[in-house]
């Protein structure tokens, strides 16, 4: 298939439009000099990614992205930013030119790694059955059946991270403070 053929299908225009929006907003996430703006551009990036998943008929993944990342993770980001400091104007300190070479190396190697593994795994395979989303029963059966071990391991790691997070965040009270707490 030539590029002209590929471009003649309207669905690929949608793909290009969403992809361009994702890349542009991802670029703004790192270049924006306002923390809240950066977080909001991240919302746009994630929404676009959810759109790309929808185009591949991966409904469940797309809406999980919306529920977990936009609805919870970004909300917690914004919550954390706003509860500590949320300047309305730009913060020049956010732009850190010294870190750019290192950041370039890290992001390039991540890109190469992901591109290589995806190409190795899928090559030029085409998605079959685009337009009919996988029903939840099939998805659940493969998750609890064939992929049950990775699923459980991920659950275990997340639990460990949760316990670790609580341990770090929670400071034990001194006896004096505990007395005050009790008196209230």
């Amino acid at each position: 298939m030539t590029f002209a053929d590929w471009l003649s299908e309207p669905v690929n225009w949608v793909y290009l439009a969403i992809g361009a929006a994702v890349v542009a907003s991802a670029f703004r996430v790192v270049t924006s000099q306002n923390v809240v703006h950066a977080a909001l551009y991240l919302v746009a990036t994630l929404a676009g990614t959810a759109g790309l998943f929808l185009m591949m008929s991966a409904e469940f993944v797309a809406w999980t992205l919306v529920l977990v990342y936009i609805g919870a993770v970004i909300v917690l980001f914004l919550f954390g930013i706003m509860i500590t400091r949320a300047p309305l104007n730009v913060e020049p300190g956010l732009d850190n030119p010294k870190a750019r070479p290192l950041a370039a190396v890290v992001s390039l190697s991540l890109f190469v790694l992901l591109a290589y593994t995806s190409l190795q795994a899928f090559g030029s395979d085409q998605l079959t059955d685009v337009g009919t989303p996988t029903d939840t029963v099939t998805l659940a059966e493969s998750l609890i059946g064939r992929f049950v071990l990775p699923f459980e391991i991920v659950g275990f790691v997340l639990l460990a991270a949760l316990v670790g997070g609580i341990t770090i965040a929670r400071r034990d009270l001194t006896p004096l403070e505990e007395e005050e707490r009790g008196a209230v």
Binding site: V36, H37, L40, V43, E59, F60, W63, T64, V66, L67, I70, G71, A72, I74, V75, L76, L78, F79, M82, I83, A86, L88, P133, D135, T136
Partner: protein, 339 residues
């Protein structure tokens, strides 16, 4: 006609137009009910003059008034974020209508993951609320936005967990499928009356209803816009049609969340012993009647319960509702396997 109805774009346009008219109508109806019922509960008359009878045109007049107002943006505000926030809040509400079944086949799009989609898309509004609170450059707005976000995060979990019980019982996440499951319950014994899930899932219904009240930031969970301490919370700086957007989002959200609660727990458009051919046309009426009861209870709550304090609100969610919802899931799952 047939050919026209087969065209995807024509059907899509039709659906968009229907939803775009339904949302203001539902919002106005709920808003008017609120005005009149509040008046009744306080022994007042309420709106009286606009429109000739019962003051039915009061909210239309209010809407026109809002449109005429100047679109004020505070000088220090972050303009693009400030302008976009109301649209995002309204989007979270409008998109909910997609999966609500109003009758057999009368649904915008019956998604296989219906309830999951509804919960995901409604969480987008939280971002809008935070954006509104932050971009207003006003400390009351910021505190209101933060309170709203803290509350919405806390109550989203019990809301999601309470629906899991229903999904386990019905064996599907499609809202239409959940209605069918309730209509067909006990059908193998020859019983045709079905069973609304509120009977086995009474605890789930209670949790869902409390969490939905909190998601709507309605009394007793209206800390984010507590007027005695925060002026109007994240809405303080908004006026004109941007305020109207928030207003419309709040009231149509009351309608949609009640519709989803009615679908999950009260049988949706189905009612016991109503034949299928009657359901074809009576479905929307049955659903709206159930929604009206729930909306009435929500308004009733407003004039019955005092506002919860912020720490009580968080304690209720994290220490009571979430553990209870988890127990409910465990019990439902065990019963599903045993019976």
């Amino acid at each position: 006609m047939e050919a026209l109805l087969d065209n995807f774009w024509v059907v899509l346009l039709g659906k968009v137009v229907i939803i775009a008219t339904l949302i203001p109508v539902a919002g106005l109806a709920v808003g008017f009910a609120e005005l009149k019922l509040s008046a009744k509960m306080q022994n007042r008359v309420g709106p009286y003059f606009a429109g000739g009878r019962w003051g039915w045109a009061q909210l239309l007049a209010d809407g026109i008034k809002f449109f005429q107002k100047e679109d004020l943006i505070p000088e220090d505000a972050d303009e693009p974020v400030f302008k976009f926030a109301p649209a995002l809040v309204l989007l979270g509400t409008v998109a909910l209508f997609v999966v609500v079944p109003f009758g057999p086949g009368l649904i915008v799009q019956d998604l296989d993951i219906g309830i999951f989609y509804a919960l995901a898309i409604s969480s987008v509004s939280t971002i809008g609320v935070l954006m509104a609170g932050w971009s207003s450059a006003n400390k009351y707005s910021l505190i209101g936005g933060l309170r709203a976000a803290g509350q919405l995060i806390a109550y989203e979990l019990p809301l999601v967990l309470a629906t899991v019980g229903v999904v386990v019982m019905a064996g599907t996440m499609s809202l239409d499928g959940i209605v069918q499951a309730q209509a067909g319950w006990f059908s193998e014994t020859g019983w045709t009356g079905g069973m609304p899930f509120v009977i086995p899932q009474l605890i789930g219904f209670g949790i869902f209803f409390i969490a939905a009240l909190a998601e709507l930031t309605r009394t007793p969970f209206d800390m984010p816009i507590a007027e005695s301490e925060l002026v109007m919370g994240y809405l303080t700086e908004y006026s004109g049609f941007r305020f109207l957007f928030f207003f419309l989002a709040e009231f149509s959200n009351m309608f949609t969340l009640s519709a989803i609660a009615a679908t999950l727990f009260l049988g949706g458009y189905w009612a016991p012993f109503v034949p299928d051919d009657v359901l074809q046309w009576a479905g929307p009426i049955i659903l709206i009647a159930k929604v009206a009861v729930l909306v009435f209870i929500i308004i009733w709550f407003r004039w019955t319960f005092p506002r919860l304090r912020e720490d009580q609100l968080q304690t209720l969610a994290w220490k009571f509702l979430i553990p209870l919802a988890l127990l409910n899931i465990v019990a439902t799952a065990i019963l599903k396997v045993v019976i």
